[in-house]
């Protein structure tokens, strides 16, 4: 019974490999591997990469991603891409060290690695990502500008983070705090919501009870929580957040949030694909780090 099962598995594997082989184009085979499939963010990275692939032409492009964020599943995706004959992988690494062993194997198989959105502790061709510290700093400055315009020069400010282990949002928070060095504002201890919008709402309401003049959310869930709490309090509190979702945009349109920092995932995918092709052709790819920047979305420019 066991033997039959093994034989069947091998057969299935072989046919899929042949099927992929049959499709193979003369050009490069490039895979995009993200943290999961569900986030709109990754969908936009995929769109950008697809657009670049279509422009360049002759590229077999495929988006592989685990259904949920999971280190083991991402490693599996990397291994599958290498087994599937990838020439290059555009990777949004789950963590700094989680997948480095798989990347080492990929590199020794001759695969070029380009990081999009988030890098790992392993040398790659190039990293195309939002500089989160710079983006957080932009958020802080936007908020400061609005506070000054309202004639507020001192007071408490609350921050809703995701968790102390999420490098990207911690960097945003650090950048945000930097914008307030030497000002009369007091930044309170960061509260971590794990990105749960309902939890973030409670934490924001507690901050408002403490009399904050402004609130900052470092990801989508936190920002939704901040916006809902300000909407409920009905006070003149400046709310600035991160990410772009329908709910956040409706909170901005309703006047409850001042601004949100939208990343440019399409740029990551687009430029990432171009970088990968350049690297495969042996051309110069430019600087090691490419800041894809953030767009500041406000009521005025929506």
């Amino acid at each position: 019974m066991k033997k039959i099962a093994i034989v069947l598995c091998v057969l299935v594997l072989a046919t899929t490999l042949f099927a992929q082989g049959a499709k193979e184009d003369s050009g490069y085979k490039i895979f995009l591997i993200t943290m999961d499939q569900s986030d709109q963010h990754w969908v936009n990275v995929d769109k950008g990469a697809e657009k670049a692939a279509a422009e360049i032409g002759g590229i077999t492009y495929k988006w592989l991603a685990p259904d949920v964020k999971d280190d083991a599943k991402q490693i599996e995706s990397i291994n599958n891409a290498v087994a599937g004959g990838a020439d290059a992988i555009l990777l949004a690494a789950n963590g700094l060290n989680a997948v480095t062993a798989a990347l080492k194997e990929a590199e020794s198989a001759g695969v070029k690695i380009v990081y999009v959105d988030s890098a790992a502790n392993f040398p790659a061709v190039r990293t195309l990502a939002t500089d989160n510290t710079a983006a957080g700093n932009t958020a802080g400055k936007e908020m400061l500008k609005a506070l000054k315009a309202n004639g507020i020069t001192s007071g408490k400010i609350g921050i809703i983070g995701v968790s102390s282990a999420t490098a990207s949002t911690v960097a945003r928070e650090n950048g945000f705090r930097k914008a307030y060095e030497g000002t009369g504002f007091q930044l309170l201890e960061t509260q971590y919501s794990n990105g749960d919008a309902a939890v973030a709402k409670d934490m924001s309401a507690n901050f408002i009870t403490q009399g904050v003049v402004a609130l900052f959310g470092s990801n989508e869930g936190s920002t939704v929580g901040v916006g809902n709490a300000i909407a409920e309090a009905g006070r003149q509190i400046i709310g600035v957040g991160f990410d772009k979702s329908d709910m956040i945009l409706s909170l901005i349109k309703g006047g409850h949030l001042l601004a949100t920092m939208a990343q440019n995932p399409d740029v990551m995918g687009y430029e990432g694909m171009k970088t990968a092709v350049k690297a495969l052709k042996g051309e110069d790819v430019g600087s090691e780090y490419f800041d894809t920047g953030v767009s500041v979305l406000t009521k005025a420019n929506l």
């Binding site: 259904d67 201890e189 507690n206």
Partner: protein
């Protein structure tokens, strides 16, 4: 009997498990006063009404977990059912369904999951840890598939009535969320303390074989407990949707363990057969007061986690010590006679 009636205090003390409930109630009062002195804002009426509303969802899932724990089982699917409820209701509303229709459909789906939990544990005799681990994953999967692997858009202006009913509105000076939790607590406390179903739930938790032999329908009682758990989780999911105004696939992540904590701190035994829903109120309140109070005190999140962890361990330890104390006392009495 007549003597017990003459002394109401003694009669109250005769209720099983009341000892720990009283201990943690004193703990809650101490915590509350300490936080109030650390930051006077804590005592403000604004904060008190906010705090009560923050406690309400923890109390609701705590009621569910308490029911299941009292039967001697556990429900790990609570957090995922919250997420499933949030996503089903929000998806329906964004697709234009009437919010109240969405509420009914959502709660029916949640009850279905509770039914599955109950039957898997009682009829198929799967270990509750495994059965509800499976349904936990299934419910999270349903949450993800509900809107095709995306968080939903805003549920919009049309759902404002729904949002007010479950979260933002006030009745008689208190947030509706608090009234919902109080009403469900009264209902489920009545069922547990005053009806035959309630007595059966205690009976199967104390000794499932003895209960079966004395004619208790174990399958029915276990399933009822799991359906209560799924129902209150569904309600919390609706509260979450109302709070955020959108559906999030990872809503409720980890709530099942918050529910265990609220129950256990309140003296509900993880070994089954013992626990009072009044204790769950105290347990949920301690949880809420800690979350809220430590934020006002400006404590870093790590400190909060450590404090909550210590309180959970100490309250279970208390339960174990009290139980073993009783046993050894009984043994002493037996050996003395």
């Amino acid at each position: 009997m007549s003597r017990e009636i003459a002394n109401p205090f003694k009669r109250m003390m005769a209720i099983r498990g009341i000892g720990q409930v009283l201990t943690v109630t004193i703990g809650l009062i101490v915590l509350y006063v300490v936080f109030g002195f650390m930051n006077p804002v804590f005592f403000s009426s604004r904060n008190i009404s906010n705090l009560l509303r923050q406690i309400a969802p923890i109390l609701l899932i705590g009621i569910g977990q308490s029911y299941v724990l009292i039967t001697g089982n556990i429900d790990l699917s609570i957090g995922s059912v919250v997420g499933m409820s949030c996503m089903i209701s929000a998806t329906m509303m964004t697709k234009g369904a009437n919010p109240w229709v969405a509420v009914v459909v959502t709660l029916i789906c949640c009850l279905g999951l509770g039914l599955a939990n109950g039957l898997l544990v009682s009829l198929a005799k799967l270990p509750p840890f495994i059965a509800t681990l499976g349904t936990m994953t299934i419910a999270r999967g349903i949450a993800q598939i509900a809107n095709n692997n995306y968080n939903t858009d805003s549920i919009g202006e049309a759902a404002q009535g729904f949002r007010d009913f479950f979260y933002y509105g006030k009745s008689f000076g208190l947030y509706n969320t608090i009234w919902i939790a109080a009403a469900l607590w009264l209902l489920f406390n009545f069922i547990l303390m005053r009806t035959r179903s309630g007595r059966h739930i205690y009976a199967i938790g104390s000794n499932v074989e003895a209960a079966r032999l004395s004619g208790v329908n174990v399958i029915s009682a276990t399933t009822k407990a799991y359906m209560v758990s799924a129902f209150v989780s569904g309600v919390v999911g609706l509260i979450t949707t109302a709070t955020s105004g959108m559906g999030a696939m990872d809503a409720g992540n980890g709530y099942e363990l918050n529910a265990v904590a609220a129950s256990v701190i309140g003296g509900v035994s993880t070994l089954g057969g013992q626990g009072l829903l009044f204790g769950t109120v105290i347990g949920a309140s301690i949880w809420g007061v800690l979350q809220n109070g430590l934020q006002f005190a400006g404590a870093p999140v790590a400190i909060r986690n450590i404090v909550i962890g210590i309180i959970v361990v100490v309250s279970v330890l208390l339960d174990v010590i009290v139980r073993s104390g009783k046993v050894s006392r009984k043994k002493r009495i037996v050996s003395a006679t």
